[in-house]
Amino acid sequence: MDLYEYQGKELFERFGIPVSEGRLAATPQEARAAAEELGGPLVVKAQVLTGGRGKAGGVKLADGADDAEAKAEDILGLDINGHVVRKVWIERASDISKEYYLSITFDRGAKKPLYMLTTEGGIKIEQVAEENPDALARLHVDVLEGFQPYQARRLVYGAGIDDPNEQKQILGIVEKLYRCFVESDAMLTEINPLIVTPDGDVRALDSKFTVDDSALFRHPDIAEMRDVEAADPQERLAREKGVTYVKLDGSVGILGNGAGLSMSTVDVVVVAGGRPANFCDLGGGGDAQGVVDALEVITSDEQVRSIFFNIFGGITRCDEVARGILAALDQMKIELPIVVRLDGTNAEEGRRILAEAAPPNLYVEPTMLEAAQRAVELAA
């Protein structure tokens, strides 16, 4: 789960990482009120779960309450890479003399958290890694050993930070960020830029924060930060129904059982010349209610022209899925063509059940490839 800048900063603050004071606003009027409370020169920042908001006009300076209201008016409603801005974060503008970068990522490959620190902040870290790799200090932490102060020293010296006042503050921030990363079950915590003000104060000016979905059960406060309104309407409905669904941009609705087979089904539809409308994993079940829920989500997408059920019965029994499909059709009155491919446990029985009921919009195909081809034809 990705957090907004202001949410990440809220977590930073809890762990003692310095951030600027700010307020959230959903309307220009709220922005004015926030600006009045905060006072002084301000910055109005679009809250979106995507990068590149600066270039898209999503970050603007304001010199007072009137101006903050006007800038919020400009920014709210902007479309940034397909993300509509519905909230802005208003904080005191910071004077910046240096921009650094600090992050911890969950390094799957090394099976260790990875620290990265560089004085070349404010730009994309990939660019630093490519153009000036020596400027980037990297350090893996052994999770059984945990954070040790020497690691922070290695990073700070390694990045070439030589001002003692900065060193002292950044050593502290490096340690606090590790606690924040581990205790929030984060997959990514990034501060870019980590700024030094002309007075020598070090502060997190932005945040990028991703939390492990599987760990949200022990972080109810973070789980509550999820912005259900921001999701695509189909994905929102899927979350409500407990359906594993990812929206794509085509016309063939897809329903498989198991993540790997469902991904493979999406690929095979492309191989057959079609455009998948979604990824949807029915999971281990296949009972009527599961099928109804998944179909409700898939058919709520108006681009869908045909639906492809690709089921390989293992523990899931194909006769159950067949009954589920018929019950769902009965309940939902779907007129779109539905192509079904059943294989594995009780597949013959499942096909027999479908053949006997024979709804006019149901097509049963013997193999995954033939079914994909048929679903693509029917979507054309």
Partner: protein, 292 residues
Amino acid sequence: MAVIVDNDTRLVVQGLTGSEGRFHGLRNRNYGTNVVAGVTPGKGGQDVEGIPVFNTVAESVTAASANTSLIFVPARFATDAIYEAVDAGIGTVICITEHIPAHDMLRVYTYIRGKGATMIGPNCPGVLSPGKANVGIIPAEIFSEGGIGLVSRSGTLTYQIGHELTQLGLGNSTIVGIGGDPVVGSSFIDPLERFEADPETEVIVLVGEIGGDEEEKAARYVQEHVTKPVLAYIAGFSAPPGKTMGHAGAIISGSAGTAQAKKEALEAVGIEVGTTPTEVARLVSDRFRIHS
């Protein structure tokens, strides 16, 4: 032979008295797996259709000589169950449980590596050596005995490929489902090493998917250490970046972990990659007949 599970497997099921544990534990026994014990704290002394239940894994090792554990306990208790098994001296731990927090798995992974135990999973379907032992939830009836070693991050996709192989008259030495999480106990390399050493395995099929870099690591390992023919399939060519595709580990982060990059890494070391499960099965069949 075969790898990881076989006729020497003496299985303890952690969570045997729960509904999943009971259903699959008994299915595994019916298949012929030697299920010697179950563990459920507080239910020691009971039995599940004749399988004795103990309070601790340590007791199942002492009293029933268990050497392999199958874990069905819920996610928030699963890491405790893994540590308990390893500390009791269990050499092979197979964990089916889904949704274990990634940070917990980092610690488990680091700990058990130090202990020299083998772990498969979590979020995996288990391991099946046809004709010998089935440990987990793989529907064994789809597979037959033979010379193909199959290692995969996915469950149902593996069944699909196994089914296509069976229809072409080909069987498997062992099917290893390594799991779909970002951190798993064993990735491709451990099973590849075992398949290379296993006299019964003649051809190896690797089934990967988007996310992480384990397929790329496997490609390098194959180039340096594997003499047997290896073929591959990768799922997720059409997956958009930044979206978790069902498995917690199946996510393209930035530009890392794409199916195309994995395909290229595998092909660069001479591993053929099929476009569909059907094509993979056909490629395996061609290669198998040449090899045999």
